[in-house]
Amino acid sequence: MSYRLRPWVSWGLAASFLLAVVSGLLASYPFHEAFPLISTVGIETVLPFGSFLRAFHFYTGQLTFLLLVWHLVEALLNHAERRRPLWRWSLLVSTFPLVTLALFTGYIVRGDQTGLAAGQIAEHLALRLPLIGLVLNRLLFAVAEEGVHRAFMAHIYLSVGVLVISGLWHFRLRAVRLEDLAVWATLAAAVSLVLPVSLEAPSFETLIKGPWFFLGIQELLRHLPPWLAGLVFPSIPVLSLVFFRLAPRGLALVLVLWTGTYVILTALGALR
């Protein structure tokens, strides 16, 4: 069965990502990572157009993630892995966890209830990693000792890194068309006008829900040990994608089952 990639998804992904990076750079100007929550509230309530800018950055980031998932599924259906050497394919696949991590650190840097909890969980999970856990934590999180400084830097560096991988190399420096930028910017702006981005004050609530795409892992952490729920389980789709060429049918089944399980876990987590 042959399948062709839909150009509007690819262009939409590129446009959304570019918009997310540019709006993020604009939002980072009034942001002080030493006072993350005060800064975020300042952007939201004091800075003219601040709440719009923050929402726009948030929704373009979400669009990037969703369109990347779509693009990845299309690439698999298109047997894209067969046309590239393993190292190139692996590098492309790595954009998925990197974008997820960039999105995740974005939640941490706002410094609210969800962000603080997400940072602490991520830190504990990273420290569970054998050998590289400590280094990874010092590079990406270390929120318990140092606040959101490292997460903020990781958010920016990861975004720029993925921009380099995807824009310069995978997209071959092609110019994003103005109308694509306009369409996706209009869509993100329209959503930003209607749906304010969540921001939760620290409270004594014992049930804190993480970012929506993290709810499945959060739910699994209730039932399984951290190394299994937080490390082994999320590694399954990444490794399946990397080695997809070895057993396409079997690994496709693994991916479908994993996704189904994750959707159920996410629903369970959301309903708590």
Binding site: L37, I38, V41, G42, E44, T45, V46, L47, P48, F49, F52, D112, E179, A182, V183, A185, T186, A189, A190, S192, L193, P196, L199, E200, A201, P202, F204
Partner: protein, 415 residues
């Protein structure tokens, strides 16, 4: 297509600009002295008293809502007018950083459960057998509110007694009924200065707050202040006007000598312990199980309550015990008369048997229920079939009857 997209883009841009132009922006990020963000302070000017100062506490720890927003709709999401309402009190007054443990205790207290009133009513009206346990499941105010269970006695309770408990939402009913209830603030709230736009929360509970409920049956709150609910009509008339004062609910009262303790400046909460009023964590059924303080606590009892607890306001000052009231005034404790009170022939007499020479008494109490009419069920908040009307034969302010309970001679007062 391009033209439509262009139009849509311009429209969204115009909406973004228009909304920003209409938006109220805060001049800065407001924080409390502890550094917690409280954007509520950008709009709200209310000034509670010192203990809950706006600069220290802010608004959201009590009233919830979203302190990180300034858009009215978003900021007020989940807001509550009365933080002390028992339905939310664990999240507000009782949160770990403020007054932890109190909500659990208060919810078990008699002022929240009304178990005693309900048990007595049902028992006297023959709805439960004499040997039935006093503490029965489903027979507290909250449980009745949720279950909707009713009977003749419960219908009476719902309609005539249903506003004297802590689960009542403050301001739910009009007039003086609206002042009652509200959880913690049923006792701890007093009006504040108008300019401060916020009532005052206090530990110095004024007698008026207690009397809002404790003014029927034993009429303790009225008698303590020197008010006697008379037979009505305001008679005798004085200079053509009603000769008596009226209560908020329209009942006439005459002036009688107030209690000595009231004259000395003591309020109810000066003698009654927090464990009695707010509960000690146990779920009692009757008042006499819950009450700790006795006359002897201060008069000859070295400040110890019936349950052996040291009265928190009884302190030693220059070698003698004094009761330091809520206003800071010291009252030296007076020992009982060694001859009259300690005499062998008076051994069985309660203090009231001699020290309450006259008490208000209400004789001939009876009630009537008209099934054709409807009346407000105060627990359910709606009119239901059956209207109750209370009658009495007469009120008297005279020497009470003495009776024996166990081995003690007490006064017996019809109320």
């Amino acid at each position: 297509m391009k033209r439509y997209l262009l139009f849509l883009g311009i429209l969204v841009l115009a909406l973004v600009i228009g909304r920003e132009a209409l938006r109220h922006r805060a001049p800065k990020v407001y924080t409390t002295t502890s550094g917690r963000i409280e954007m509520c302070l950008a709009c709200h000017e209310e000034k509670p008293e010192k203990a809950h100062a706006r600069e220290v506490v802010g608004c959201s720890p009590c009233h919830l809502g979203d302190p990180l927003r300034i858009d009215r709709q978003l900021a007020h999401r989940g807001i509550i007018k009365n933080p002390a309402d028992l339905r939310v009190v664990e999240k507000t007054c009782g949160q770990p950083a403020c007054h932890p443990g109190y909500p659990e205790r208060v919810k078990k207290s008699l002022m929240a459960t009304n178990r005693g009133i309900i048990d007595t009513l049902r028992r006297y009206w023959g709805e439960v057998p004499a040997h039935a346990p006093a503490k029965r499941p489903g027979e507290t105010v909250r449980e009745l509110m949720l279950s909707g269970e009713t009977s003749l006695a419960l219908d009476y309770f719902r309609k005539l007694c249903g506003t004297c408990h802590l689960w009542l939402e403050k301001g739910k009913y009009p007039g003086f009924l609206g002042e009652k209830g509200g959880g913690c603030v049923a006792c701890h709230l007093v009006p504040g200065e108008k300019a401060k736009k916020h009532p005052v929360l206090t530990r110095r509970i004024p007698v008026e707050n207690c009397t809002r409920c404790h003014n029927r049956s034993g009429r303790i709150g009225l008698t303590y202040q020197g008010l006697y609910e008379d037979e009505g009509y305001g008679a005798p008339l004085v200079e053509g006007e009603f000769g008596a004062e009226t209560l908020e609910d329209g009942r006439f009262v005459d002036l009688i000598p107030p209690d000595l303790h009231y004259k000395a400046g003591l309020t109810c909460a000066d003698c009654h312990l927090p464990e009695e009023t707010m509960g000690d964590g146990k779920e009692y059924v009757h008042f006499e199980e819950s009450v700790e303080v006795t006359c002897e606590t201060c008069h000859g009892g070295q400040g110890l309550t019936r349950k052996g607890r040291r009265h928190p306001k009884v302190v030693e000052k220059e070698g003698r015990l004094v009761l330091k009231d809520n206003a800071g005034k010291e009252h030296p404790l007076k020992a009982p008369d060694p001859v009259k009170c300690r005499h062998e022939v008076h051994r069985r007499l309660s203090c009231q048997a001699c020290h309450a020479p006259r008490v208000p008494q209400c004789f001939g109490c009876h009630v009537r229920r008209d099934p054709r009419e409807t009346q407000l069920d105060k627990l359910a908040g709606r009119e239901t079939a059956g209207a109750w009307e209370e009658f009495r034969s007469y009120m008297r302010y005279e020497t009470p009857t003495l009776g024996v309970k166990g081995d003690e001679v007490l006064i017996i007062v019809p109320g």
